[in-house]
Symmetry: C2
Subunit: 349 residues, 2 copies
């Protein structure tokens, strides 16, 4: 087991992966050889390790002898095109990019399989929480009927802060930014776009359904107030941004939504604080299986990226089967009813 | 993806796997071809599906065209020898056998790799809860420092029943038997032997340590009384059988034990009821990751077995790397102090 690694993008995730690969606890046969960043010249000082080629030219990475390329650019383009180019150049790819996997996952995984290479994406959903493996691998022996989850660490940090401090969303957001959990523009997190992309990926893995994230009904968490929390408390709960998908195979009907939701105080979701993520998966034969862990931040995401690199290094010829997804289902939107004074009361664990 | 499956042993797990493979929701390209059982003639009536060869002769299975052999015999011998024979005959093997994997896992996995075949064992720990994949695959990108878990569904069903009903262990055990969660002789469950074998497997996956289950300090749950529960309640907790392992790499010191433990009422362990299992995994970079699910019973175990069969069918040449385990560590036993009036007070989630 040995592999040469190149990283595309030296931002939060890319730099965390680089630090792990060059740090004392790195698996010694994984070697970071290239870092691509548009501002390579400015950033190279951040990593005081020799033997790494910094470049602002993608073709220098694609024509290198790196075995695995870590895509940590984010956004749909140029990331999707670069993953395609890396696979075409005979590299395996590890990505943390939920937008790319939600929109182009099937075609990229098909290309990877055709090339005899791997595209792995544990980091695209749930940070360090290994939910892609849990659903796509560990529970393939069941028929999964629903997934209910907290998939956005930023929104969860904001909402759980409002819960404990009684502060406004604006104040909670300011604190989350200071702690590195929120970006300057948090709208993709609060409005649910981030969670919708992740939920679409999970619908592919769990139900074999091709779902455009934009089709998933969503309600923003941006207007939640301290008074909403007070009201949720009176109902015996608190508020979390939940992503839910349930599939009824008999009628080919999918119910899916992302919304701020009142969850029972005793539920696993109420107990999910700060940047944590959590998911409850229901199956015909296994009942309820749950998973939780740190869902945001460079360190947690780097754990998932490194796990994928190790998987590739262990088995270079491993087959990551491209999903066979169907669009032949009905998306139920009328169940997206916000009950109990504008919130859905979810009873869980 | 297609595979021909043979099952060794038509007991609780074997029959559940057979029902799934011949049921309406079976992945259609998995085909059950052989069932070996010493009492094949008596049991064949239990499965009303044609095209399956029932036999009481192992060599008939080994010389068949089955691709995957499911070992559902239990116990160390002859199961270990039969797995060895199956691998030698060029079959891949899926096992639910924690005793075999704890004692002979490394040599069997090495044999499988040498044969270019796979030995998979998700079902050996945690039933449907995919903890083998979570630790052995999803979190390989971290340095795991501790695992604390409920690994025995029978004992958990008994203890959580005592908690809710205030009844004696004898009465709780009788109920667990009636529900199919406990065997006639539950001593391997209550005394901790079952959890010790599973904990030894997890120590190999998480820390790379070779640990004889018999070395793990254990305290039996068989003498827990209703009064112990009353006392735990006064401490703000309840009682669960926990399995714990923590590894300090700087000093190569492993702390490991299985014991009835007072856990905080708000902890994930107190919330684990009936035959459920749960685990908290701590890593240097990912913090705390948790997983829970149904840990006992034929249906839940069959989910894990089927997931392993699907993994083999998807990628016949997949490499399941044999672990490289060291015995060069010190097993700390003095930390096995039962605090707080004979119980250790575990604070968790």
């Amino acid at each position: 087991m040995a592999a040469r690694i190149a990283i595309l993008g030296f931002g939060t995730v890319g730099s965390a992966v680089a630090r792990r690969l060059t740090g004392p606890a790195s698996p010694h046969d994984l070697r970071l050889t290239h870092i691509f960043d548009r501002r390579a010249d400015e950033k190279r000082e951040a990593l005081r390790t020799g033997g790494i080629t910094w470049t602002a030219r993608l073709d220098e990475v694609l024509s290198s002898d790196a075995d695995v390329i870590v895509e940590a650019i984010g956004g749909v383009e140029p990331a999707a095109g670069w993953i395609r180019a890396a696979l075409a150049a005979g590299k395996s790819v590890v990505t943390a990019n939920k937008q790319v996997m939600a929109l182009h996952g099937t075609s990229l995984l098909t290309l990877a399989a055709r090339q005899g290479r791997q595209l792995r994406f544990e980091a695209a959903v749930g940070g360090a929480m290994p939910i892609v493996r849990a659903i796509g691998d560990g529970l393939t022996g069941d028929r999964i009927t629903s997934v209910t989850a907290i998939l956005n660490g930023t929104t969860n940090a904001v909402l759980s802060r409002m819960e404990t401090s009684g502060c406004s969303l604006t104040d909670a957001l300011r604190e989350a930014r200071a702690l590195g959990y929120a970006e300057a523009d948090p709208s993709a997190d609060l409005d649910g776009d981030d969670a919708r992309a992740k939920l679409a990926i999970l619908c592919g893995l769990a139900f074999g359904l091709r779902l455009d994230p934009a089709q998933i009904p969503a309600r923003s968490s941006a207007s939640i107030t301290a008074e909403d929390f007070a009201q949720a408390r009176r109902l015996g709960g608190t508020i979390r941004q939940l992503a839910h998908a349930g599939y009824e195979r008999a009628t080919s009907t999918l119910t899916a939504w992302v919304a701020p939701t009142v969850v029972a105080r005793t539920s696993i979701f109420a107990r999910t604080k700060g940047p944590q993520n959590a998911a409850l998966i229901t199956g015909d034969h296994s009942g309820e299986t749950g998973i939780f862990g740190v869902g945001a931040g460079g360190d947690a995401t780097a754990v998932a990226v490194l796990s994928d690199i190790v998987a590739i290094a262990r088995d270079r010829a491993a087959i990551v089967p491209p999903p066979v997804l169907t669009s032949d289902f009905r998306l139920q939107t009328s169940d997206f009813v916000l009950q109990t004074s504008d919130f859905h009361l979810a009873e869980a664990v």
